[in-house]
Symmetry: C2
Subunit: 302 residues, 2 copies
Amino acid sequence: MVLENFRPGVMQRLDLGYETLKDVHPGLVYCAISGYGRWAPWPPLRPMTRSSRAGQGVMSITGDADSAPLRVGYPVCDTIGGLAAFAISAALVRSLRSQEGCFIDVSMLDSSLTTMGWIVSNQLIAKCAPQPMGNHNFTASPSGTFQTRDGVIDIAANKQEQFETLCALIGRPELAADPKFRDREDRKRHRPELTVQIEQGLNTQTAAYWDEILNRHGVPAGQVLSVEQALGQEQVAHRGLLMSLSQDDEEITVTRSGFLVDGQQTAVDVPPPRLGQHTDEILRGLGLTDTAIAGLQEEGAI
Amino acid sequence: MVLENFRPGVMQRLDLGYETLKDVHPGLVYCAISGYGRWAPWPPLRPMTRSSRAGQGVMSITGDADSAPLRVGYPVCDTIGGLAAFAISAALVRSLRSQEGCFIDVSMLDSSLTTMGWIVSNQLIAKCAPQPMGNHNFTASPSGTFQTRDGVIDIAANKQEQFETLCALIGRPELAADPKFRDREDRKRHRPELTVQIEQGLNTQTAAYWDEILNRHGVPAGQVLSVEQALGQEQVAHRGLLMSLSQDDEEITVTRSGFLVDGQQTAVDVPPPRLGQHTDEILRGLGLTDTAIAGLQEEGAI
């Protein structure tokens, strides 16, 4: 299996393109990841990272009417390009069955659009242009983020009984009987006023308190956590998502794979390499002598 | 292969849990997706969707100092749970080699944390808490979103020569010689002032114009597109990402898979089913007679 994410054309120039390698190893699975794919009217030199983020459409729907377009807080298009791992594994299943290899061409733009789910379906099927909706879900109310005594909580009391439970738990049972908030449509019409009322109730306790008590009573809710808090959750520790590795004289912590197999985390047994750490080993594997490698080092080529 | 995303415990109650099915089919690959995983101190009834989004940490870093925490404009945690497809394909490779099946337990929380890349590494390894950074990249300048005559463009002129090219293209070559903007550190210190200067230059043309000309001259840039514009790009059409399917008397458009195999899009040959469309067919496959199915329909059970 070969995986590369050079610009289209670079592997051919190095004489390591798919056609060349396939001649040596006919069952080869070869995967190339690029910003826009290999067969493209766009010039292959077009830089990819930023255009991908802006050109995917996700910035246009992140934030609210005032703050959109906004970036997602981490490089989500690069992440989604990781569906290459799925494509490769699926191709390996086929190659085990039929001995056939293939060339997989992953486009970060295509991958991002494909995985945007109902946002893209709304546009394509319902012809309804997605709008930036901030933190409120415009199909329900109360459904969004709310201020508590010490931080923000995300609440989705979309069903009638969840709304009634919420009112009771925040000590404001009368809200559920108020004609302005009687059913979902009423609540959508009076959303700003309802938000003020709910935040008055939530203000008596911390976000962590409300997270626990709302979920316990069947109201979907989540304290908005920092990355540090997210990694520190009991559940994360329990499942062993994080592991320590020794790198030189340091202990570093990394994440495992995001899924368990037969109750076990999949193993990572080496730390991420330092820059160039395996260069000599790889060159020796390719048949270069120590003298040849030292020569390359002297020339500054490696 | 079995894939389900019921709450933990539901498949056991239906007598369709992994242990039961494995007895019938020893090489079974069984995958369960849930908000927090199967082996959990958290109660399995805890609602998952909203807590997952808030509890992943990504809301805390989306937006700027004023607008964070913000939701991503599409349900990114649910999307990332799709790495189940990778886990299943990888397990199928193993089962083809060894006849061994397995139980794969995908946690949306774990998956999300694992795929947040350098944000999580910054926290775990550098002990540096990620902050909401809005649309500007705080390690470089100019690197962020800028207003043009008709819309917003994302520009990452992170390298010295990219900055100089940008200044020349917007008709402001003198900016590159200004001591306030001489090197990257100078530009980071004078970011707001530099943004004003660059936007004055960009204001002469449209975002589409700048997208084309900046990329052609090696400055990474991307017009911020709406979802409709993103789907309408020449590149998307060229690669055949979208396809039409007939559903009853309607034509609907869907996306394909995000990658090409040997230059071809992978095929989707049936439209998404209507609610309950295949219920009779499945029940007949399980051996129920038409009379029995009609009975279930009368009872309102299906």
